[in-house]
């Protein structure tokens, strides 16, 4: 089909000048020149296509990203459902949406949830989905700490850390056809499904460790931009560091994240002195407690 199209195109290009020349008195040299130009044009557009393809490698359209992310978060919800508490879910969305609104990707359909698991962890999925376990939520003391955890996850989404990890695992050829707007392509569907399957594994193996440190740092800045005390993340990490690392609640988190003490050390060193003027940001402990102590 493609070849047929190309042939038609070539004929059209070659015959074009003949048809448009009124006298039809066209020399052989002119014909050759036209043919050469047409060839050049074709090569140029092919090169451009290839360039776009390279650029698109490992990238998805935002639509595709949201679709993959939605499937990934549905998988997490299959393992642990939402905590049945509308007020709590609404509150976490309020905090998360406000923090995400200060990010570069505020236009994403941000959606947050607390899931019913004792495990201490939080997850993000491409496209703007973030979940935090009840186990982690119960360790928090105020809204700034909740904002800090969500900001870390939001940073993963904004910086496309999951997609970068998938880019590493999938071969170069895999990315052809992805990241290009074309709807209803069955092959593309299959590829998105493959991405979802690999993405699920990421939640068990973890992201690149350097991306975790990056999310810590970006997260505290994002929390400060949202008007919260940016030191709250250090407080959360301190609490986690006080937990027996061998307790089953921490198994997955310890496997997928750098050691908490190391994160604390790196983050406090990098933050040192740079965010002091924002440390008077809100903690909103009162509002946090009100939501937690539901009737």
């Amino acid at each position: 089909m493609r070849i047929l199209l190309q042939i038609t195109l070539m004929i059209a290009l070659v015959s074009g000048p003949i048809l448009t020349t009124p006298s039809f008195a066209l020399s052989f040299d002119d014909l050759k020149k036209d043919l050469k130009e047409a060839k050049k044009k074709l090569k140029k557009s092919a090169d451009k296509g290839k360039e776009q393809l390279d650029k698109a490698r490992g990238k998805l359209t935002e639509e595709e990203e949201i679709e993959v992310g939605g499937n990934l978060v549905s998988g997490l919800l299959g393992a642990a459902p939402l905590v049945d508490d509308a007020r709590l879910q609404q509150y976490v969305n309020d905090v998360g949406f406000w923090v995400a609104s200060q990010s570069k990707r505020k236009h994403l359909p941000w959606s947050f949830a607390v899931i019913d698991s004792d495990g201490i962890n939080a997850f993000a999925a491409p496209g703007g989905y973030v979940v935090i376990t009840l186990g982690l939520y119960n360790l928090l003391e105020n809204e700034a700490q909740l904002a800090a955890v969500l900001a870390h996850e939001i940073a993963h989404v904004v910086r496309k850390h999951h997609l970068k990890a998938l880019q590493k695992t999938m071969q170069r050829e895999f990315w052809t056809d992805l990241g290009v707007k074309a709807v209803g392509d069955e092959q593309k569907r299959e590829k998105l499904q493959q991405l979802i399957n690999s993405g699920v594994q990421l939640y068990a193996t973890g992201l690149d460790r350097k991306h975790e440190y990056d999310a810590d740092l970006r997260g505290v800045v994002l929390a400060a931009r949202s008007g919260y005390d940016p030191y709250a993340l250090l407080d959360v990490l301190t609490t986690i560091d006080s937990i027996n690392p061998q307790s089953s609640e921490l198994t997955v988190m310890m496997k997928t994240h750098p050691p908490t003490a190391g994160r604390l050390d790196q983050l406090s060193r990098k933050m040192d002195g740079k965010l002091d003027s924002y440390a008077s940001g809100q903690l909103n402990a009162g509002r946090f407690r009100q939501v937690a102590s539901k009737p």
């Binding site: 998988g75 642990a80 609404q90 905090v95 495990g119 376990t133 003391e141 008007g227 937990i243």
Partner: protein, 184 residues
């Protein structure tokens, strides 16, 4: 009935447990000491890394410390002080109270199963063998996607209008904060 019995039991345990026990700590980073639990408060001095202190109070990411040796009393950020290894780690009871009955129960049961880092004895006995409800590695890998739950999740999403009200109510203002370079 059962629920009442349980809450009475837990309440009595919480009441019997000391509400506030002074805890031994070590300053892990040289830190400014403030007279109140916020950065805006007066600085009463500085305390060096390695100094042993008593932790007398805890409040939203701050800890009140006291050092006889340095003759200083005041507040430092909680990440600047770590519980001394010999001392048992006691979670602030008032904080768990404020998080409601269920949270209190959860933190109590965790303490009972040596959830927090403690002395050597309980650390070795605390090696967990029981799985965690939901989200073990295996469950993450094998769970069937739950799209009904996903639709429910999306229904709780906030909006720009809602966020504006929420931030105003919480005294939150968006401010410009420059990025911090990762290279240092």
């Amino acid at each position: 009935m059962m629920k009442h019995l349980l809450s009475i039991l837990v309440l009595s345990i919480l009441l019997v447990a000391p509400l506030r026990a002074d805890q031994e700590g070590i300053i892990v980073r040289t830190a400014p000491v403030h007279d109140k639990a916020n950065y805006g408060s007066r600085r009463v001095g500085q305390i060096k890394a390695g100094t042993r202190v008593s932790i007398t109070n805890r409040q939203g990411g701050w800890e009140e410390i006291f050092s006889e040796q340095e003759a200083i009393i005041g507040w430092v950020r909680s990440y600047q002080v770590r519980a001394a290894e010999s001392a048992p780690v006691i979670q602030d009871q008032s904080a768990s109270d404020s998080r409601g009955f269920l949270a209190g129960l959860a933190s109590f049961s965790r303490k009972a199963s040596s959830f927090f880092k403690s002395d050597d004895r309980s650390t070795s006995s605390g090696t967990a063998t029981i799985g965690v409800r939901g989200l073990s590695e295996e469950e993450i890998k094998t769970a069937q996607a739950d799209f009904v739950e996903f639709e429910k999740m999306k229904q709780y999403a906030s909006s720009r209008k809602r966020a504006a009200g929420f931030s105003r109510q919480g005294g939150l203002t968006a401010i410009k904060v420059p990025h911090i370079s990762a290279k240092n």
